[in-house]
Homo-oligomer: 214 residues x 2
DNA sequence: CTTTGTGAAGCTCTTCACAGCT
DNA sequence: AGCTGTGAAGAGCTTCACAAAG
């Protein structure tokens, strides 16, 4: 309603909207064309109220009769967050996880292109079968700069995290998806955004829930 | 101070404490023996205040002179959340991610034992090299029940999620670590706890942060 | 009657500010 | 000085309750 909406969307809302976009695209693929906030809520495990508020942050897109038009709502979310913009990513560390991620199919569908991967072990670089260009770790800064890579997916052993992080902060990377067990701050002093994705932490959270029988 | 503390620890605090336990164990391995709330906070990317409140939920364990004794604090966290208790897990779906996770080293360190893995593709079961016993998907319910498996790590294709979930709810599983792109509610009607770990969602969150230049 | 949209209330977690200890 | 511990204040997000529309 104001002259210029300030676009301050709470982070939990952003997360749900991103998840929503994925859900909607799947529903769209099934041939469906409208959906209600309560149905979205059920799928995402949150209340319909919350879903409506989330969508309201985008200005609202619903119809009091039939709910939300899936195509239109999807479009609105993708545009708001520029999710269709392609970003270049690299994988740093080709252990089991790195190997698995290097050919992970769903990246493409989310407009993420893996344009390089790095490891200290030269053997790994020679034996790994992939279409992604592989480089020794010491070329990391140079390659990231020359290719204009936006995001690094960190899959090095936990002992290498600090050292790798220092290298990454010096070559213009803008974001890090931290897959190592180390918990890092959400933002470095250099303004690099970090997201932590810790399998063991999640498994331990599960453990706590099971043990406490909440 | 009360006669019986109710052990209501906020979930964000639990998560940080679990992360803290991991951090402390690494610091302990380096030979260090005390640490302050501000140092923990710096590592975990939160304020010292928050760390102290988190630890206070366990009754407090600090010394006004030297901070926290690492061994003692670690012990306290592990005991509070019963993190040393072993749990049995299985991997459902042996795509790239499942393959990578099946031999993932850090599970052992967190007292998680992978005792089975399942896939619909019989070829996969024959060609995959691992010490984990492999089973065809149709034996899933039977094996989970007979082995007393607590947790399932879901790595099936997104299209198979609903069907797999239905099977899992019928064999006494207590928790699910959802690695598929689908966002599931945190708890099923049957009381199964679910944690979502969505790579693409996190990458998209990164994207949003980069695009908005927050 | 079901749907969205929305101010207000409520709740949960974080931050502040400072007392108390070494 | 630097540390922990902690009530009080504050911020942020969710839920409520209901108006408005088809």
């Amino acid at each position: 309603m104001s002259i210029k909406e300030p676009h301050i969307i709470p982070e939990p809302a952003i997360r749900r909207l991103v998840q929503m976009a994925n859900l909607l695209q799947r529903e769209l693929a099934k041939g469906r064309d409208t959906i209600s906030s309560s149905q979205i809520g059920k799928e995402l495990g949150v209340e319909a109220n919350t879903i409506r508020k989330d969508i309201k942050y985008l200005g609202g897109a619903g119809d009091a009769a039939s709910g939300y038009n899936i195509a239109r709502l999807t479009e609105k979310i993708l545009k708001e967050f520029m999710l269709e913009k392609k970003i270049k990513a690299c994988i740093v560390g080709l252990g089991r996880l790195g190997e698995a991620l290097i050919n992970y199919q769903l990246f493409k569908a989310n407009n993420i292109e893996i344009v390089a991967a790095f490891d200290v072990n030269i053997n790994k670089l020679e034996t790994l079968i992939t279409e992604v260009p592989l480089f020794p770790a010491y070329e990391m800064e140079e390659v990231i700069e020359s290719k204009g890579i936006d995001v690094a997916i960190l899959t090095v052993p936990i002992a290498e995290v600090d050292k790798t992080l220092q290298k990454l902060t010096k070559c213009g990377i803008k974001g890090i998806l931290n897959y190592t067990g180390a918990t890092l701050p959400h933002q470095t002093m250099e303004g690099i955004h970090i997201r932590n994705l810790d399998i063991n932490c999640e498994l331990n959270m599960l453990k706590v829930l099971l043990n406490k029988r909440i």
